[in-house]
């Protein structure tokens, strides 16, 4: 039994290592993507391009414009007196927003005690739009405060306590520098390992089916369990290698904090990988051609990746979608990575994750073995 599996594994490894065009794709491409793509994932909004229409041209309006110039969130790309020009700057993507300070702004402000500045924001990205709005509001709040303070000094009619303020202190726990790479690098590694593992295992048997060599395996005395173990083990080893190697590389390049124990992470990783390969195997047994297998893999990968909680948070999804993510293996791995690496969780903390993944792995692999027939 063991001997048969051993020979099968050797055969698979030989096939993989002889395929010279596949090797760099399996090993280099994921690592390259890991190093490059981890830099992409930030929502941090700064350098908002703004156009300023200052029709007032008073010291107050210039002060407001100056505040935008001094802010690290805004980057003034133009001044104009013409609203049409500003609109066009938004439409051709040169500007994210513009503000318009109307004619006689300061005069009317003093006369009417209040006056409005128009803010026009490109809100296609809703979250970015509302945050730009907050930033503008903050700047205007500052200006208001200054006006009030100036007035206090001049008139002596108010005491400082009449102007209420709330001091906001904030701190970011678990990631004080808001370094998104700490969060992204291990996450992207998880995605890549899943992608490679599932892809290779889904192609594996169906490829033999399509080329016709599966027939020759089927007539040998090798039973299906042996065959499947022989097929899956090499891919599992490759996946584990990439996981360990990728994480080491990420540590060297990005110096990600690793508070917990690698043993916990890799134990989970090993179980997880058996599940990812099981998904691939299941796809392999229900498809006829590599093309079909690939489309299935693609479908599930898109699902797992986009609903995995790495790129957009799961808490923000509607309730039914959150329920779907409970069946998403990537979700669990990403949570475990976060817990172990950033919060220092041990085996006890990720116990539930381990149990869920083990159950899923047994069910999926069981289904795949059951579906696999030695007759074609």
């Amino acid at each position: 039994m063991i001997r048969v599996i051993k020979f099968l594994i050797i055969k698979e490894f030989k096939q993989i290592f002889r395929n010279k065009s596949m090797l760099p794709l399996i090993f280099m491409m994921p690592l390259l993507q890991l190093l490059i793509l981890a830099n992409a994932a930030t929502f941090e909004i700064k350098n908002l391009n703004i156009v300023i229409i200052d029709k007032d041209q008073t010291s107050l309006s210039r002060n407001i414009a100056g505040k935008f110039k001094g802010s690290k969130y805004f980057n003034i790309v133009g001044y104009t007196f013409n609203q049409k020009t500003a609109e066009r700057e938004i439409q051709n993507r040169h500007a994210d927003l513009y503000i318009e300070i109307p004619n006689n702004f300061e005069r009317d402000l003093i006369r009417e005690q209040t006056n409005k500045i128009l803010v026009v924001v490109n809100a296609i990205d809703g979250a970015k739009g509302s945050i730009s709005n907050f930033y503008v509001q903050n700047i205007i709040n500052d200006v208001n405060k200054e006006i009030a303070e100036k007035y206090l000094i001049q008139s002596n009619t108010l005491v400082a306590a009449d102007f209420k303020q709330i001091d906001l202190n904030y701190s970011f726990w678990y990631n004080p520098d808001l370094n998104y790479k700490t969060f992204m690098v291990p996450g992207i590694l998880v995605l890549l390992v899943t992608l490679i593992g599932t892809f290779l295992s889904s192609m594996n048997i169906v490829r033999e089916k399509e080329i016709g060599t599966l027939e020759s395996i089927n007539v040998t005395p090798i039973n299906k369990i042996q065959f499947i173990i022989g097929k899956q083990t090499p891919i599992w080893i490759i996946g584990m290698f990439e996981l360990v190697f990728g994480l080491t590389l990420a540590e060297l390049v990005y110096h990600i904090p690793f508070l917990g124990s690698p043993v916990v992470l890799f134990t989970f990783g090993a179980l997880y990988l058996s599940l990812a390969l099981g998904v691939g195997l299941l796809i392999s047994t229900v498809t006829e051609t590599q093309q079909q297998a690939m489309f299935f893999t693609w479908f599930f990968m898109m699902l797992f990746i986009l609903l995995g909680g790495l790129f957009t948070a799961i808490e923000n999804m509607p309730a039914w979608a959150q329920t779907i993510t409970l069946f998403n293996p990537i979700r669990y791995f990403i949570e475990v990575v976060r817990l172990v690496m950033l919060k220092g969780a041990g085996f006890a903390d990720v116990k539930n994750h381990l149990i869920v993944i083990s159950i899923m792995s047994v069910v999926i692999n069981g289904l795949a073995v059951f579906r696999y027939r030695k007759t074609t």
């Binding site: 490109n122 709005n133 503008v136 303020q165 904030y170 299935f296 986009l306 509607p318």
Partner: protein
Amino acid sequence: MRKFYGFVIKEFLHIFRDKRTLIILFGMPVVQILLFGFAITNEIKDANIAILDLSKDATTQKITNKILSSKYFLLYQNLNTYDEIEKVFRTGKIKEVVIFEQKFEEQMKKTGKANVQIIVDAADPNTGNTILNYTTAIINNFVREYNPTSNIPYFIDIQSRLRYNPELKGVFLFVPGLIAIILMLVSAMMSSISLTKEKETGTMEVLLVSPVKPAQVIIAKVIPYSLLSFINAVTILLLGKFVFGVPIVGNLPFLLSEVILFILTSLSLGIFISTVTSSQQVALMISLVGLMLPTILLSGFIYPIENMPLFLQIISNILPARWFLIILRDVMLKGSDITYVWKETLILFGFLLFFIGLSVKNYKVRL
């Protein structure tokens, strides 16, 4: 020419006989757009928070109410001591703790200043930062309303107009992105195995000895795929409009011709992959594993390109999806015409010619 038609018909038959692939091809994009259109969002909604109110007076109660009555936050737990903060964060259930200092109202009345401390779980820094921004805005608004305006001599207000997406819906951002990604990957994957499949199954030999020219072989293969992709694109656009209310402000024929241009570009990329690889496995590895994450991350679909480090912004230029996404968002949501997107259109054309040129160059007439 008749020979050529024969080839086109042959390709169509190949595709239509494989019912399973056909169902996958049409079914999956529909399922994906429906699922992701609802589920993918970068809006904060109902984030769980905890509140440590050491003062418990009328003012802190008011601020708390204001925070909780926004649609962004839900109260998960009221804390009583500082020690509980660590514990509640460990459960992983909450994103933020808001702490009011002791004698908050008294401080506010006496000195005009009181202190709120906010602790954010920044393990996911993007969400953490957004949550902090929202909380800050709510508290600032509270302060503004709390100060009776009669105390302040002059008061500047802002009036905001949110262009193109006044309700700040997340789908406006993501539906065009999904269209670009689905079209890119489906088209490239389909065509990347077109020639390799023939090579692998041995029928390439037959194609090569036939009197049909290489260019005709390729065009005959591209035609059915472009039709399939085009049907997919139209389906997704319709779903976007009628299910998610994403408008198509721009000129429809213009939008559709841009879609066709992008489909052809993606298909030609696939064909190029097909000419340089010898097995389906390798071709698929490149088109699936090689394209999927870079397209998702670098096209501007989720993460704005302008926030990325410069070298990534440069790398993102080589992705056709990046340019198509700009065109799609501009034409669909802003109603832009060719005068606003001519540059992006030209770039897509450039990619198309480039990939076709490479494919023709790499098409080997001998095996």
